[in-house]
Amino acid sequence: MSLTNVSTANIIKKQYIHKMTSYRDAWKSLIITQLIALAISSFSTGGGTTSGDFYSINVTNYSVDVVFFFTVFWAFIASFLVTTNSYTYEDFSYVSNRTTSAVSAILFVASITTIAAIFTMLSSYFIFMVMYLTQDVNILYGSNTIGDFSEILSSFAAVWGYLLLASSVGYIIGALVQISRIFSLVIPVLIFLPGFMNVQVPILTDVVTFFTTETSVMMFTMKVLITAILLFMLGWLLSAKKEVRTW
């Protein structure tokens, strides 16, 4: 039987198609996440009442912040899970080497993150529409809800940036945990330590400052992209020597 010649690019493409169609859990969980977040958002998330002698204004803010937060969390978990053994091993049940497996996984994670960002943007229109149709009140447009095209574009870039960042962090942590279980204890503690206590992990603070103090969306997106690519590449290097199914 004659041998098949394959190119790396071709196999990456096939593995990418395979992942996009068969990782149902990732898609399912995205939809569930969005629905739960929308349900929570539909309770008001802030506001107040001002009343004078002859009038009373009831201000209610409807926010997609909840949707955004849920989706960031989902992006982290989903790309963390993509690095686990059972997904990696499936690549080798078909045709794969470590490079194609890692690159196709990264492309997949980047793709679902982008789609999740679009979903998150659509949620804001969805909430707007629901309120517009069901509430018999004046709507006070906020600058962070519905704006013109350039505003939409820049908020999309910001949402997408945070999601990509979350998924690249999830990916690298997943790769670390695959190497040693100890990371599954150390990493979450290091992340949450500063929030709960006065202990400062110096680098972590700098990292947070690096992203949150950036005011230009353009620059922010660049920073995120470069960071994500570096993290993805590191995760790929970490998995390069791994054996398949030692059991």
Partner: protein, 301 residues
């Protein structure tokens, strides 16, 4: 052409050895059985060939390349066992489509017809199959993918008797029309020996024999008779195993390298052939008493 070439290949796990000094070649378009006792290292060897495990020493070459991390080897070989990982939530029909995309020789019609024959629905998800059905599915995939090198590691685990028979028959039929290199490991050599051309016998991590099945069938001879006569005749012969019977009779398995003249001197002894399956048991037996000894020692026996 040699599909597989191993030179002193070695795989150690934390001190323990999986495979030691494996030195063998497998020709193209042969069916080879990989036989050995539990824990002998069969799976370690096969996974090394498939590029799943990285050898810790020596050289393993498949299609002229080191299989670990080789895309060429991965594209042209397939390793299937009970634990082969496919998404549990993907319907089998879709699983076939994925294979069709990855394997240019994939025979979709064969896959679909075999699946129907074994009464598995294309809509079923793999997670809902019983163990035997899952292995049947893996067997079908291994056949339909028509990989130049197909490795079946205990493919019939959990399959019922008639499915096993049908699977091996399908394997043979398909091999005859589409010759390729196939490795099969099994603990039921009697069921596959008609299928195999060559046998690789592994014991304690070492390859102790690699020869055609026909030669293994003629490798030894069982000689039975009264103890004294047998003991006399087997001097200067290579004794492989020995079984005393209560009545003073003895059966001895000797290597079949004696001449017809030798045989003629053995008056009153009974010569009988040894099946390939029994032969490989004798060749890999530890020196110890039978299981009965465990019970006979005990007071209640």
């Amino acid at each position: 052409m040699n599909v597989i070439e191993c030179r002193q290949a070695e795989k150690k796990y934390r001190g323990e050895h999986g495979i030691l000094h494996a030195d063998f070649t497998i020709r193209e378009n042969t069916i080879t059985g990989v036989i050995g006792r539990n824990g002998a290292g069969k799976t370690t060897l096969l996974k090394m060939l498939a590029g799943y495990l990285k050898p810790t020493g020596g050289e393993v070459k498949v299609f002229g390349e080191r299989p670990f991390n080789s895309l060429k080897v991965s594209a042209n070989s397939m390793y299937l066992d009970e634990f082969t990982v496919y998404s549990d939530s993907t319907p089998i029909g879709e699983l076939f489509q994925h294979h069709r995309r990855f394997y240019p020789n994939w025979d979709q019609q064969l896959a679909v017809e075999l699946l129907a024959y074994f009464s598995i629905s294309q809509k079923a998800v793999r997670g809902s199959l019983s163990k035997g059905q899952r292995n049947t599915l893996h067997g079908i995939i291994g056949l339909a993918a028509r990989c130049p090198l197909t490795i079946f590691d205990e493919p019939t685990t959990g399959m019922d008797a008639s499915v096993r028979k049908d699977f091996y028959r399908a394997l043979l039929k398909d091999y005859l029309t589409h010759p390729r290199t196939i490795l099969i490991s099994s603990h039921h050599l009697d069921e596959i020996e008609d299928l195999l051309e060559d046998i690789v016998l592994i014991d304690l991590g070492k390859i102790i024999l690699h020869l055609p099945v026909e030669e293994l069938k003629e490798f030894g001879m069982a000689i039975s008779g009264p103890a004294a006569a047998v003991n006399n005749w087997i001097q200067h012969k290579t004794v492989i195993a020995r079984k005393e019977e209560a009545s003073g009779m003895v059966t001895v398995i000797v290597k079949n390298d004696f001449t017809a003249a030798d045989k003629a001197t053995a008056a009153g002894l009974r010569f009988s052939p040894v099946s390939a399956s029994d032969m490989s048991i004798y060749l890999t037996n530890r020196e110890k008493g039978g299981i009965d000894d465990v019970f006979n020692k005990r007071q209640y026996s």
